[in-house]
C-alpha cells in the first residue's frame, strides 16, 4: 500500500509535500491495521464460539438427542410423546418463529413502506419515534406485557384465557417489529431518487412505482430485515418465558396450547442439569438452534437470489 503518486506533481506546488504526505501515510497504516484487527477479532470470536459449541455438541448429535427412546417416525407424527429428547422443542421453535414471522410481516413491511413513501414529515416524526420506543423495550418487558394482557383478559371477557403459543408469537412479533420496519424503510430510502422520477415520467401511479419498481429493488434489504427478525424470534427466551413456554409440553397441540422451545430448553438445562449427560444434551440443543437459524438464513438468501434473478434478468449465462 505504499503507492507513489501516479501522476507527476505539478511543479508550482510548494515543496511541502514530503512532510505533509508522510503523516497521513502512517495514519493510513494505523487505520488499516486497526481495521484488520477488528475483522480478525470478529472472525475469531465467532470461530471460537462455534468451535466450542461443535466440540461439546457434535458428540451428542444423534437419534437419542432428538427423540430419546421414542421411535422417530411415531414421534414426528405426534403419535408417541417424547420424554427426553429435544424434538418437541425444535418443533415448538419452528412453529413459534413461523407464526411470529407471519404476524410481523404485514405490519412491519407495511409500516416501513408507509414511513418511507407515504408519511408526511409529521407522521414520519411521530411514527418514527414510536418505532424507536418500541425498539427500546426490553424483551422481558414485552413478555410481561403479554402476561398482563392474559391477566386482564381472564378478569374481563375470557376467564379461561391462558398463556399459549399464539400469545408468545404475538409478543415475539412485537419484539421484532422495529428492526423490520427500520430495515424496510432504510431499504426503500436508500434507492436513488431518480428511480421515482423515472417511474413518474413514464406515467406510473405512485402505487405502481412503489410496488412494481421500488419494492422489488428493495427486496434484498427487506429480506435482510426479515432474516434479522426471524433470527431474533428464534433466539429470544425472555418473552416466551412469561407467555407460555414450558419444559414438558410435547408437540404444540394448537395455537392456544403450551409449547416447548429450543432457547428455553437450553436455558432450563443449563440452570437445572443434574448429570453431565444432561448438560451435553444442552450443548446439543444449542448446536441445533444454531443450525436452525443458520438454515433459515441460507433459505432466505436462496429465495432472495431467485427473486433477484427474476427481477433483474438472468445473469447466470454470463
Amino acid at each position: 500500500m505504499t503507492g507513489r503518486p501516479i501522476s507527476p506533481e505539478p511543479r508550482h506546488l510548494p515543496d511541502r509535500r514530503i512532510p505533509s504526505g508522510a503523516r497521513p501515510r502512517t495514519r493510513e497504516h494505523v487505520l488499516t491495521v486497526a481495521a484488520w484487527l477488528a475483522a480478525v477479532l470478529v472472525v475469531s470470536v465467532a470461530a471460537v464460539g462455534c468451535a466450542y459449541l461443535l466440540w461439546r455438541g457434535v458428540p451428542t448429535l444423534g437419534r437419542a438427542l432428538f427423540f430419546g427412546d421414542t421411535p422417530p417416525l411415531l414421534a414426528m407424527a405426534g403419535l408417541r410423546p417424547v420424554w427426553d429428547g429435544i424434538w418437541p422443542a425444535c418443533a415448538g421453535s419452528l412453529y413459534l418463529v413461523g407464526l411470529a414471522t407471519l404476524l410481523v410481516l404485514g405490519p412491519g413491511v407495511g409500516c416501513g413502506i408507509y414511513l418511507a413513501e407515504y408519511a408526511g414529515p409529521r407522521a414520519r416524526r411521530h411514527l418514527g419515534l414510536a418505532v424507536e420506543l418500541l425498539a427500546g423495550v426490553p424483551s422481558i418487558v414485552m413478555g410481561l406485557f403479554g402476561f398482563t394482557l392474559i391477566l386482564v383478559l381472564r378478569r374481563t371477557f375470557v376467564p379461561q384465557a391462558n398463556t399459549c403459543l399464539l400469545l408468545a408469537a404475538g409478543c415475539l412479533a412485537l419484539l421484532v417489529l422495529p428492526p423490520l420496519v427500520v430495515s424496510t424503510r432504510a431499504a426503500l430510502e436508500s434507492l436513488p431518487h431518480g428511480l421515482r422520477l423515472t417511474g413518474a415520467a413514464l406515467g406510473l401511479t405512485r402505487e405502481q412505482i412503489v410496488f412494481r419498481v421500488l419494492l422489488p429493488e428493495a427486496g434484498r434489504g427487506i429480506l435482510g430485515g426479515v432474516m434479522l427478525a426471524m433470527g431474533r424470534a428464534a433466539e429470544d427466551t425472555a418473552v416466551i418465558l412469561l407467555t407460555g413456554v414450558v419444559a414438558n409440553a410435547g408437540l404444540p397441540a394448537g395455537l392456544l396450547a403450551k409449547f416447548e422451545a429450543l432457547p428455553f430448553t437450553i436455558y432450563y438445562t443449563a440452570a437445572q442439569y443434574q448429570t453431565e449427560d444432561e448438560l451435553a444434551r444442552g450443548f446439543g440443543a444449542a448446536l441445533v438452534l444454531l443450525a436452525l437459524s443458520g438454515s433459515m438464513m441460507l433459505g432466505a438468501g436462496a429465495l432472495q437470489r431467485v427473486m433477484e434473478r427474476r427481477h433483474k434478468g438472468e445473469d447466470a449465462w454470463n
Binding site: T198, G199, G203, L204, Q208, V213, E217, K312, G313, E314
Partner: protein, 288 residues
Amino acid sequence: MELNIRDPEPGLRVTGLRVSFHGRPAVEDASLDLPRTGVTVLLGRSGSGKTTFLRALNRLNECFPGCETTGSILLYPGGRGGEGLADGTPTTPCGVPGPDGPCDVLGPSGPCDVLGPSGPALTELRRRVGMVFQTPNVLPMSIRRNLLLPLELVRGQLPDAPARMQAVLTDVGLWDDVRQRLDRPAAQLSGGQQQRLCLARMLILQPDILLLDEPTASLDAATTRDVEHLVRRLAADRPVLMVSHSLGQALRLADRVVIFANGRPQREFTPADLGGDAGRDALMQALL
C-alpha cells in the same frame, strides 16, 4: 428573429410560466408555443432552466421538494393523422382509459389546462407527454422488463407487446445489439445504448408530445445521426421539444431554434434565418 411566441395552431401553449425551487425561480415568465408538428430545439447555457422548463410540461417538477409552478400550459387536441409510430402501429385514439380514469389530455373538446384544477390525470398526462432525461435512467431490471413493465402498467396487457418491443428497439437502432440478451440487466448496456433504451421506453408508450433533454449527449456520431433521423421521423406528426448543446445538431434537426436564457425563451431562429452568416452570427451572439 425576435421570439414569435404565438402560433396560429399550436399543439401546446405555455404562457407566463414560473417555476421556483424553495422560492428561487429557475424558470420565470416563460411563454412559448409549440406547433403541432416539427422539432423545436432549445439552446442555452448550462443552468438557464431548460430542463426545468421541460419538466414543467409534464409536471415532473412536482416530484421535487419546494417546487412551485404558476402560469398556464395548454394542451390542444391533437391534429394527428392517426398513423402513429414510424413502424406503422396506429396510435390509440383518445378515450383509452388510463390507470386512473379516462384520458382527458388532447381530448376532442378544446385545450386542457395542464396546471389547472380540472387538468388531466397526472399519469395520463405523463404518458402522453413523453420525456427522455439528460442522463440515461434505465430501470434496474432486464432490458425486456424495462420496456414491457411500463407498457403493461400504463396500457394494460397487450397481446402484441413483444412485437411493439421489437418495433421500438428497431426504431432506436438497438434491436440487433440486444436481441440476444433481452433478459440481461439493462444496466449492463453502455451509456449510449442505455440512452437509446430510454428513448425506446418512451416510444413504446406512444406519446403525443416528445420532450428530449439532450438525448444524444452520450452517443457516437453515427448513432447520433440515426437518432436524429428517428426524431425527424417522429416529428412528422407530433411536436418535439428537444434540448441540445450542439449547434450543429440544432442546425441539422430544427424547424425552429429557441434560445433559452435567464429562465425563459428569449429569441428564436428558423433554418432560413440560419442559412446565412448574419443569422449564425446573431445566434452565436444570443448564446453568449
